[in-house]
Symmetry: C2
């Protein structure tokens, strides 16, 4: 560890400036009503000594740390393996940096670490939290509520209305996007359209399945296989689907990584894409959708913008000292509004179909 | 933001338990000398009210947050694009979780945010810091020293001995590994061995260049091209080398990502690997070295173990309350020791050559 020179104390600053401790404290914390000549003396002493105010102490006065926690409810291995999280973090990082707030990413090995995360959130180290990738029955939202820190969620929380009272979230129009994907496949003349789901304990996956069912021409349950938003899950599900329904002529995959896995299995089984089987993904992550063979037709959501907006809503709420208020400069096309009464308030960003070669 | 029930206070616990604030505070902070009957009353009140002790207040007594900051001195875009950081974080995360410490990753957009990072470190939110990917002339180490938090560095710090007094770091034997790579190429009969460096303001890159020079049979400066540890940098440097020295018969690349870029350019220019040009990398990141065409011969360093060891050294130092002590269970083959006098103390892990098809 670095050996350090003793850190200058508040007392040392007071002695150097020839003023009282209380005066130093008031100047450092920006309190009003200190004579300008004293302020100047304290400032000079602070500079000469290289005094760094203890933020733990200072924040007892200002109640702000200029730091925001980000919690991804997935093990750190997933956080680094899935470019979705990198994109969302990019948006969050840009917005927080623009407001000179520190991004504090709290990593975990798994769900059993969530109590520790909540303890850190409750410990007075951050002004608020951005939480995403929640799963049903995850104790995290409850723990966060207990911790008492202002929070904006990424994705519609899946808990019931009462528990979600006052929650604010940012989401994409998952259901509408899924409908558009299936409608596109129908318009191409496909009639046996399969769906590979995401993990159905996440609302994004459940909503995409609902959109598929809204628009799906064939209610055959054998056309739906369970995936998990990973390429390996997409491969497994695609094999299952081909075994169950060898005559399928289209696949709507719950995200681009799933579609990439499905494309590999289709090639391995000698199915031409899109001639034999048309494939549509979800996300439009360029480093995935543009690299697949063939390039992927997909439903675009603006992941980076979602992150940016989560950060903007949180900081805006902190500035107003208000909880649960959604307003301000929303992006064009975003729908906002609390469900009447107790439900969580959300901002839902639009999705659009991007056509490439796979469908 | 989540609307929250008012958080129960210390006062509320004291009232419910029928004891003084001071007694509650002593029980919550684990102080000795409180009668067992009172402890029991306080514990019951804490449970009934769901009281979460304010860690900022508690840590004024215990001086521990059970949280460790990780700072990567690169923009967040690099942190998520380069699997090196994911591997190092994996090792750190496993070790911290095993000791129920929270990993607090402080992300930045660039060097201009380092003052804010130092402010957070100085603010009393973490017990110590793990810092890696330092560049020469980066103000971060100085800022961290001022912040006064115990720190272990990943990679040998590049500053001079005086400034580095007491610094502890974990590194790989970069110079020895580079020598082994070049010696292997020489033994294959190669005589015009080029080197693509990393960013030379990092000691890891500078040390690999030094190792190349130790072992290099041909001191032709046109055989050295500057890279930056990225595939794009490797491509640029490889083009430059082929233009300058079309007769080169081997390349030692400063890391695997650089080698992957070089391999692409060699293929594009119709050079067979290893027949025309043999290529050796550095790192042995499996998702890179095993995926290249042909698979990459490379110098292996145990990146995950480096992260684990950094965390272990920091936590061990915190437990002993000692700064700058390197001891305990070092992995087999690790060399440890402070330079006599003022220099930083380091643990240097061994490297080994892994042969695949490219050389």
């Amino acid at each position: 560890m670095t050996e350090t020179a003793p850190r200058p104390t508040l007392e040392a600053v007071a002695a150097r400036a020839g003023v009282s401790r209380a005066t130093v404290s008031r100047v450092v914390n920006g309190a009003a009503g200190v004579r300008e000549s004293l302020v100047e003396k304290v400032r000079r002493a602070v500079e000469e000594l290289g005094y760094v105010p203890n933020q733990a102490a200072r924040s007892l006065v200002t109640r702000r740390h200029d730091a925001v926690a980000v919690v991804v409810a997935e093990p750190e291995t997933r956080v680094f393996a899935d470019p979705y999280f990198a994109l969302q973090l990019r948006g969050i990082s840009k917005e927080l940096t623009a407001h000179d707030n520190q991004l504090v990413l709290l990593l975990t090995e798994g769900r059993e670490d969530h109590a520790r995360v909540a303890r850190y959130l409750a410990g007075g180290h951050v002004d608020g939290a951005l939480v995403f990738s929640l799963h049903l029955h995850d104790p995290l939202p409850g723990l966060i509520r207990q911790a008492g820190v202002p929070t904006v969620f990424g994705g519609r929380p899946g808990w019931d209305d009462t528990a979600g009272a006052g929650a604010v979230y940012v989401d994409s129009d998952n259901r509408g996007g899924a409908r558009a994907a299936v409608r596109h496949l129908t318009e191409l003349g496909r009639t046996r359209i399969a769906h590979i789901t995401g993990p159905l304990d996440q609302t994004s996956a459940a909503d995409r399945l609902a959109g598929y069912r809204d628009a799906g021409p064939d209610p055959d349950p054998a056309l739906v296989a369970r995936g998990d938003f990973t390429p390996a899950g997409g491969e497994r599900a695609m094999r299952e689907l081909l075994d169950q329904c060898p005559r399928l002529d289209a696949v709507f995959a719950a995200n681009d990584l799933t579609a990439a896995g499905a494309l590999r299995v289709l090639r391995e089984r000698g199915r031409r894409v899109p001639d034999d089987v048309a494939v549509v993904g979800f996300d439009d992550m360029l480093q995935v959708a543009e690299q697949t063979d063939p390039p992927l037709t997909t439903v675009r959501q603006d992941i980076e913008e979602m992150g940016r907006l989560m950060a903007r809503l949180l900081l805006g709420g902190l500035d107003r000292g208000a909880a649960g208020e959604v307003s301000g400069d929303l992006p064009a096309g975003a729908a906002s509004g609390a469900a009447a009464g107790a439900g969580p308030a959300g901002v839902v960003l639009p999705t659009t179909l991007v056509r490439r070669a796979s469908a």
